[in-house]
């Protein structure tokens, strides 16, 4: 059977996975290595930071009998982590809505996801500002450098995700909504969103919980 | 290819054959260089002796594989050339052959692995009790050597005894360099923030020095970052150490005396040390016995009063990028030509 279009439609692919979805999966594979390298950098320097004795430090440490309080605010960040987790849940509803022809559910869930994402970003801005006030910057020590780079790039990904979802929401407001492909569109966006959440689920214990 | 073209080609080759033979002979004659002071296949140090075992092995195996694959390529190219009546045999592969030629490289690399691991283990032995311990420190673009127990500091010319292990701590104050004396030992990098080590025993004393060279690209004058290693008998080495530990010599002439005064009131002492004097700078090479070195500028110039003058006047002229600022008035420094001559005389006298 000859395919009638150059960019094959979903059902015509050899793997059975739609092209754009496969693209997203592969892209996320690449992203794993991206965050993996950033996390590796953090781990490499984690203990050196304490050894060099230049604070602020992430967690409480005793250096020469003096207790240095950790700068990380674990309760607050736990809250923001919870917010991000909830956004994954609302994203699931959005995908469900898109795939089962329930546009209102989809739009509301998208909106909720966007709002939760923005709240998470708000937490992060607050955290960054506080840290800078407490004397932790990119150049203070390697904890500052690795922390801001890793969480900063994660935050950027959340930000890009929010823009992605906003444009999707805007497009769904058009007369014919997201068209016949709505399910696929939202599902692919969902893949990205869940991935960004999962990265945070890795970062949070590594950075915040592990002393 | 048709026969007439073949014949023509053959005739042409025959005409050029004598010329080609002559050219080959000329090339070989010119290429038979016997003096190769940085050859890696000469074994003058224990490190080279250790690595020579896998080294020789890889060469032998490489030669065999090379000859075999080249021969097969050439033979197949000739034997199976397209010609009238020849048809290609159609087959897709052969499992037994695949197994055989998977095994061949496995055998080859196993043969290389065994001496390789042996050599790695041998290199990891602890330092000998009587070893001479030296800090070798890389700077852009020169080497500093500090004899740890003897408290002697020198630059670009390393003196060691024959038959005794020398254990180096390799360090760098700026960028990555690499410490390499091909005839004595393989290279190890000098990485800022790390202390690497290498140790080897020079097998014999000899009058001419072994040549070393920085082997990791380190900026503008990387090519000019060379050093020399002098291997002495124990007695000669003891004598050298004694003189090297002494303070800088006193000026022997009026000119040298004048040079010393100029040296001591100029920018020189901000960077250089002369033991027993006010000069205690740490940025540049220790000059306490600079007059006794055979070369200056990390091995790029023979050490004479004239080359010293040239160097002092504007070192970047002979060594691009040199971190030592020009001293000649004409190049923005503070010293006149005469003053430079005097300083050079003083330095030459620091035997």
């Amino acid at each position: 059977m000859a395919q009638a279009v150059a960019h094959a439609p979903a059902h015509g692919t050899n793997t059975g996975i739609e092209n754009r979805k496969l693209l997203m999966w592969l892209f996320l594979g690449s992203e794993c290595l991206f965050f993996g390298s950033l996390i590796a950098t953090y781990m490499v320097f984690k203990f050196d930071v304490i050894a060099r004795g230049v604070g602020p430090f992430p967690h409480d440490v005793m250096i020469n009998g003096v207790l240095h309080h950790g700068i990380l605010d674990i309760p607050t960040t736990s809250a923001s982590t919870f917010v991000l987790l909830m956004s994954s849940l609302t994203m699931v509803f959005a995908v469900y809505g898109a795939q089962h022809a329930r546009p209102t559910l989809m739009k509301l869930s998208l909106l909720a996801t966007i709002v939760l994402g923005l709240v998470f970003l708000g937490f992060q801005v607050y955290e960054f500002v506080t840290f800078v006030h407490e004397g932790l910057t990119l150049s203070t020590n390697l904890f500052g450098a690795t922390f801001f780079l890793l969480t900063g790039f994660h935050g950027t990904h959340v930000g890009v995700g929010v823009l992605y979802l906003i444009s999707m929401l805007a497009a769904s407001m058009r007369r014919n909504g997201l068209g016949a492909d709505a399910g696929a569109h939202v599902e692919i966006a969902g893949l990205y969103w869940h991935f960004v959440d999962i990265v945070w689920i890795v970062i949070f214990p590594l950075l915040y919980l592990m002393p | 290819m048709d026969d007439t073209r073949w014949a023509r080609a053959r005739a042409q080759t025959q005409r050029f054959l004598p010329v080609m033979a002559l050219a080959v002979v000329a090339v070989l004659a010119a290429a038979c260089e016997t003096n190769l002071p940085q050859s890696t296949t000469v074994i003058e140090g224990s490190h080279n002796a250790t690595l020579w075992v896998p080294y020789r092995m890889v060469f032998i195996l490489a030669a065999i594989v090379f000859v075999a694959v080249m021969a097969l390529t050439v033979i197949f190219s000739i034997t199976y050339r397209e010609r009238p009546g020849r048809t290609a045999r159609q087959f897709h592969g052969n499992t037994r052959l695949e197994i055989v030629w998977t095994l061949i490289p496995i055998i080859i690399v196993t043969l290389i692995s065994v001496p390789t691991v042996n050599a790695i283990v041998a290199e990891a032995q602890p330092i000998a009790a009587n070893a001479l311990r030296v800090d070798a420190i890389g700077h852009q673009w020169w080497f500093e050597f500090v004899y740890l127990d003897e408290k002697v500091t020198t630059a670009n010319e390393l003196h060691i005894p024959e038959g005794r292990e020398v254990a180096f701590n390799l360090k760098s104050v700026d960028v990555i360099h690499s410490f390499w004396v091909p005839q004595l030992a393989g290279k190890t990098d000098m990485v800022p923030g790390h202390v690497n080590d290498i140790k080897f025993t020079a097998l014999r004393a000899r009058p001419e020095p072994y040549l070393g060279q920085c082997a990791e690209f380190c900026g503008t004058s990387h090519a000019n970052m060379r050093f020399r290693v002098f291997v002495h008998t124990e007695a000669d080495f003891a004598a050298w150490l004694k003189s090297a530990a002494a303070n800088g010599a006193n000026p022997a002439s009026a000119l040298e005396k004048q040079g010393q005064e100029i040296f001591m009131r100029s920018a020189c002492i901000g960077c250089h040390t002369v033991q027993g004097s006010a000069a205690a700078g740490k940025v540049g090479p220790d000059l306490t016995h600079v007059g006794s070195r055979t070369t200056i500028g990390s091995g790029i110039l023979v050490n004479t009063p004239e080359t010293l003058e040239k160097w002092i006047a504007n070192s970047a002229d002979v060594k691009p990028g040199s971190k030592m600022p020009p001293m000649a008035k004409s190049d923005g420094g503070a010293l006149s030509k005469e003053e430079i001559t005097a300083v050079a005389a003083y330095l030459s006298g620091l035997k």
Binding site: H7, N14, L142, G144 | F76, S178, P320
Partner: protein
Amino acid sequence: MATAAGTLAHHAESGVWSWLTTVDHKRIGVLYGITAFSFFIWGGVQALLIRTQLAVPNGEVIPATLYNQLFTMHALTMIFLAVMPLGASFSNFLTPLMIGARDVAFPRLNALSFWVFAGGAVILTSSFFFEAPGAGWFNYVPLAGRTYSPGQGIDFYVIGLTVLGLSSLMAALNFAVTIMNMRAPGMTMMRLPVFIWMVLIISFLLILALPPLTVALIELLFDRNYGTNFFNPAEGGDPILWQHLFWIFGHPEVYVLILPAMGIVSEVLPVFSRKPLFGYSAIVFAGMAIAFLGWAVWSHHMFTTGMGAVPRTIFAANTMLIAVPTGVKIFNWLGTMYGGSLRFNTAMSFSVAFIALFTIGGISGVMHASPPVDTQQQDTYFIIAHLHYVLVGGAVTGIFSGIFYWFPKMTGRLLDERLGMTQFWLWFIGVNMTFFPMHYLGLVGMPRRIYTYDNDLGWGFWNMFETVGAFVIAASVLLFVINFFRTMQQEPTASDNPWDAPTLEWATSSPPPEHDFDVIPVVRARDPLWYNRDHNIQAEQPTGEHIHLPPPSYYPLLLAVGVSVLAVGPISHIAFTALGAVIAVYGIWGWALEPTE
């Protein structure tokens, strides 16, 4: 428009605008090819300057700083702007044709990859007008840090490579999806042409290898410009971290460079041996093994950095293991020649030369896989010999073979064989003259990256010899350029399948129509056209269906301009970033809303 195939939404036009807006994989392939070949010549000019300086001891043609910039830019130009995109040129032109598709999965993304590549190339090359990077292509810190490289050169390196990496990533994603998803009916994975297998493997290598490089570049950018100390030992940073991140990318990258040539040779050898490829599955699995093992060997570039005995042993063992699949490939190519009827035209000659030259590079690779041996070879001309045998003797020789082989398909014209064979012999002689003595020079202690050397080291003769060889190579490339222009002036008279080759791209016209195939072919065997020939199977008849092709679009170009302008912000003025972002957002917007029907 009506064709034999039925109706066709037709866009083929000529003129500059049609090239700027094309989303046709064949045209994008041509764009890659011409751009990359121009950079190949530019990189060659840099090489000739380098060789001229080294021709005699204490040469005084080129001063130290410029020399250091030249060898840095030579490597960057050749690797990222010539050999990689030449590979991309082949994969663009051929992938849809060889798998029986009408285009890649994402035609506009494909155009975007090319234009972003062009942007990165312009950024990197324009550094010559300001300050070219001069810390070597692997750009070791701290030398590449702000303290020891205060000028802008390294910033050009960082930005240029980041942008080029983005381009490669997009292309890799696109080709992986295309090959996994868009094969013609019957084109199973184990019937894929070897070249396509190699493209797939390269795509995966790039998808996974680029991020560590990107992270390293970002960290360096921050170190240089925003006060972090990732690589600054004085503040607790570690220069070795850069080396790990760079070579985790760098070693897979060398396979990205060589695998296209291995694929090309695996297509050319059977055609001109008049018999099927020997050991198809062995070659495919060896390719996968190489790509897989390639992840566990990066530290063989760091044997002299003071690694412990255990990691040295492990990385040495892994590196030696790679010789096994590599050897398997070489033997299978020889097996393909065995018993054949070899027609030594230019394409075939280059492919056979590839076997010989690549083998030499492979052998030297195994030699310095032994860490104790490597302490004598690392950073000497022996390594330069190794990498040029694999990259010039291997990759570029294979690429020339591919050019001669597919030229009729790409242009409808056959390159002149007399000029071609002359070029081949000059190439073969020149490459060996230039690079073989480098083994020797390395063994007698000549370090790499030195702009000068003393007379009494005994290196003078062979350096002069190599310089002569370099000009022989230049003559060979010049002949090719002449051949190209002469051939392009002739009428396109090549038949659909002038070589009687077995793969699908030869089933359509030369050059192919914009829609590639009037009818998507059905694949019944690994060498489909030979199978059809031997079983008297006629090509499928057109069904008269409507063929839809994506319309041209200028948004990829616009978006690429936006990305490039955005990227130069950190080395010029932040306003550029803002401007670039505006252009990029507009580009994405237009892209998303543009009808593709």
